[in-house]
Symmetry: C2
Subunit: 453 residues, 2 copies
Amino acid sequence: MILSSLLAFALAAQPVDLVVTHGTVVTVDAQRRVLADGAVAIDKGRIVAVGTGAEIAAAYAGRESLDAGGGIVMPGLVNTHGHAAMVLFRGVADDLRLMDWLQKYIFPAEARNVTADFVRAGTRLAALEMIESGTTTFVDMYYFEDQVAEVAKQAGIRAVAGSTVIDFPAPDNKTREEALAYAERYIKKWKGDPLVTPAVAPHSTYIGSPETLKAVDELSRRYDVPLLIHLQESPDEQRTILERYHKSSTEHLRDLGVLRKGVLGAHGVWLNERDRRILIDNNVGVAHCPQSNMKLASGAAPVKEMLAEGLRLGLGTDGAASNNDLDMFEEMLTAALLSKHASVDPTAASAAQVLEMATLGGARAVGLEDQFGSLEKGKRADLIVVSLDAARLHPLYDPVSHLVYATKGADVRHSVIEGRVVMRDRKVLTLDAAAVVSEAERFHQQVVESLKR
Amino acid sequence: MILSSLLAFALAAQPVDLVVTHGTVVTVDAQRRVLADGAVAIDKGRIVAVGTGAEIAAAYAGRESLDAGGGIVMPGLVNTHGHAAMVLFRGVADDLRLMDWLQKYIFPAEARNVTADFVRAGTRLAALEMIESGTTTFVDMYYFEDQVAEVAKQAGIRAVAGSTVIDFPAPDNKTREEALAYAERYIKKWKGDPLVTPAVAPHSTYIGSPETLKAVDELSRRYDVPLLIHLQESPDEQRTILERYHKSSTEHLRDLGVLRKGVLGAHGVWLNERDRRILIDNNVGVAHCPQSNMKLASGAAPVKEMLAEGLRLGLGTDGAASNNDLDMFEEMLTAALLSKHASVDPTAASAAQVLEMATLGGARAVGLEDQFGSLEKGKRADLIVVSLDAARLHPLYDPVSHLVYATKGADVRHSVIEGRVVMRDRKVLTLDAAAVVSEAERFHQQVVESLKR
C-alpha cells in the first residue's frame, strides 16, 4: 500500500484531460463495485482509471475537473430504442387504440411533416432533453438518418443511428433501392466515427418483405454495422406473422439468416421461451420499452425470464409520441414496477438488475459492450453525475435503490460523453437551448394545421 | 362586453390578498374549463374568482401577486394515501416479498425507531418533498398523529391526518382504549382547523377487530371526521377476510355499519363489482396507489371500471417505503399506464380522467369536494404553477396531456395553499430545507443500527 502510494507519487500527476472527483462511484463493472469516495480519470475520450479519490488524486492531474459534490457518478444511460425526432409529435394524440393512433394521427402527421429540417429540429430537441435527463447514448430508427447523425455529433451525444429501409415510399426515400443506396452512403460517411455508429433499420417483419430483410442484412454484414428492428411488439404483429409465415418473427428472422450479435429487437413483448432461446444463442439483444408498451396496451415483456436466462436486455423509451418523454430514470422505475406486477413477484427486476439494463445491458443489447455501458478502464468515457440534493433523496440507505426508485432526470447535474463535458450544472454546453426550443416550436403550428386537412 | 368592462372598472380593483396571473388555467371545474390566458384572485384563503387575465385585472387588485410566467395554473395535487413519516425508511429494503419486507424490515424498523421525534422529523421531510412536487393536500395514517398535524400546520400544507387505532401495542398507544382516548383528544384539538382535518384510522379489517372498527366508527361519527382504512389491497387480505368472515372486507364494513361519505379505503385492488356497488351506494372513496401496488406485486385496481361507474376515486403514493417517493406527477403517469396495461385498453384512464383523479377526485374520495380539488369561486385556494420551460414540455399540443404524460414534480415552480404562497420559484418558504434534511439524516444511522440487532 505504502509502496504503491510512493510509486504513484514517483510517477505522480500523469496529466489527463479530465478528472471527476468527490462522488459515490457506481461502476457497473464486473464486480459491480460502488466506491464511497470515488473518482474517475479520463483522457482522450477514454476512462484511464476508476478508484478512490485518494488513488486518483495521487496518480492523475486533470487539465479539467468536475466536482461531483458528493453526488453519484455512474455510467451514462443507454436508451436502446426510440425515434428521436418524434418529440415534435409529443402529446399530439393520446389514449387511443394503436391503429387509430397510427392511422388517424401519426402516419398522416409523418407523411405531411417529416422532412430533413423536421428531423434536424426534432432530434436537436430530443438530444437536449436526453442530455438533461442523463442519457449519453441513444439508439434511433427514423428517416433522414444522416441528419440524426449530424445533430448527435454537434450535440456531443453518442448515437447508434439506424437508417430505415422499407418497401414503400418513406419521407426520405421512395423505393427500397433508394433506401438501400442512401443507407450505404450514410454508413460509409459515418463508419468509424467516435460518437456515431451507423446502423440499418428494416422496421419490422410485418413491414419488411423477406427480400428487403435479406438485402438489409447483407448490407449490415458487409459494413459490420448494427441492424435495428421492431420485434414481437403486439398481439396484432404476432397474428400477422403467424398467418403469413406460420412461425414467430424471431423464427422468421432466424430462417432468413439475419440473427447475430449487433442485431437489436425492440419491444420483444411477446417472445416465448423458444424465441428467447434463439435470440440468446445468436447474441441478439432486446430493447425493453415498458412505458410505451403500457401506454399502447401492447402487453408486458417477459423481463424476469429474460434476466434469468441472460438475454442481452436493454431499456428504451420508444418515441415521445407514445411515452411522452425520453426520461430513462422514469423508464427504469417503470421497468422495475411492471416486471414485478406482470410476474406477480416483487423480487423480479431488482434495482441492481434494472440499473444494469439501463447501462451495460443497453450496450450489450446492441453488441457494443466493449465500448461503453460501465465505468471501467479503457471504455469510452460516458458518465453522469447525479445530485443527491433533493429532499426526495434523503435519507440514503442504498445508492442503487435511489437511482431506480427515487431519482428523476432533473437530478442529473453533469454529463460527460466521450470525455467531453456536455452538461455542467444542468446547462447543456453543446446546444443553445432557447434556439432549439424555438426552432421546435416552428413545427408545432405546422403539425396542428396538417392534421386539420 | 363593453358594459361589463365598464362595470368592472367602476367597481374596479377590489383589493384581495393574492392574484395569480399569466397562466394557462386548468380549472377542473364543472365544465373542465382551460383558460388560455387566465388568472385567479384569492382572498382570505379562498378563491374569489377565476377568469381571463383581463377580467381579473379589471376587477381585482392583489396585495401580493404571483406571475405564472406562461406556465400552467392548476389545482394542487391531493395525495389520498400515505404514511408521511415513513420517508425515513425510504429505500431501506426493496425488491422483497410483502411478508419478508414487513416482518424483517418495516415492522422491526418501526418498533425500534418510531417516536414522536421521528414522526416530526419524517413528516417535515415528507412535507418538504410534497410541496416541492406539487402536492397541496395529503391524507395520512400513522402514529403520533398530533405531530403530523403540527408539522402540516407549520409547513402550511393541507392534511387529512388519521390517528391509528388498533388492538395491539403501537408506537404511540399501547392499547385500543389508549388509542381511542388519544384520537378523541386529537380530534377535539384540531376539529375546525382551516388546514388540518383530523381523522381516525383503524388500519384494516384484518388488523382491526369488529369491536375496534365499531368503536372507531362511533368516534368518527360523533365528531363527523373522516375514517381512513386499508381496503382489499392484497390477495392475502382477501383470503384472510373470506376465511374469517365469509365475505369481502367491503361487505364486512357494510355489515358493521361503517360505510358512509368520508370513509376512504386505500388501494381497493381486489374490489369486485359487488364491492364497488356497495362503495358507490355509500359514497365511500377509494385511494388508488398504483406504484406501491406494482412494487409489492399486489395487483392492479379496477380503475377503468371504477371510473366508468363513478366511484369516488383518488390517487395516492402510499408511504415512501414502498414507492419510494411522494411524487404525484409520477403517480398520475403510472395510473394512466397501469390502467391501460391491466385492462388491455389504451383508451382507459385518459389524461383528463387521471388529472381529475389526482385533484378533484381526491377531494371527493375523502368527502371534502366542497372544500378543495378544483379552481372555482368559493373553494379553498390550493393551487400550483407548473413551468413549461423544460425541453421535455415542448411542443405543447394539449396542456392536460403534458400534465399527465410529460410533467415531473420538479417542474412545479410555485405553490399556494389556503391562499398562502408556500413555495415561490422552487423555494419552500415555510420550511428550512437544510435543517429539515439534516434533522432527517440524524435518524438515518439510527435506523441502520436498529436493523443490525
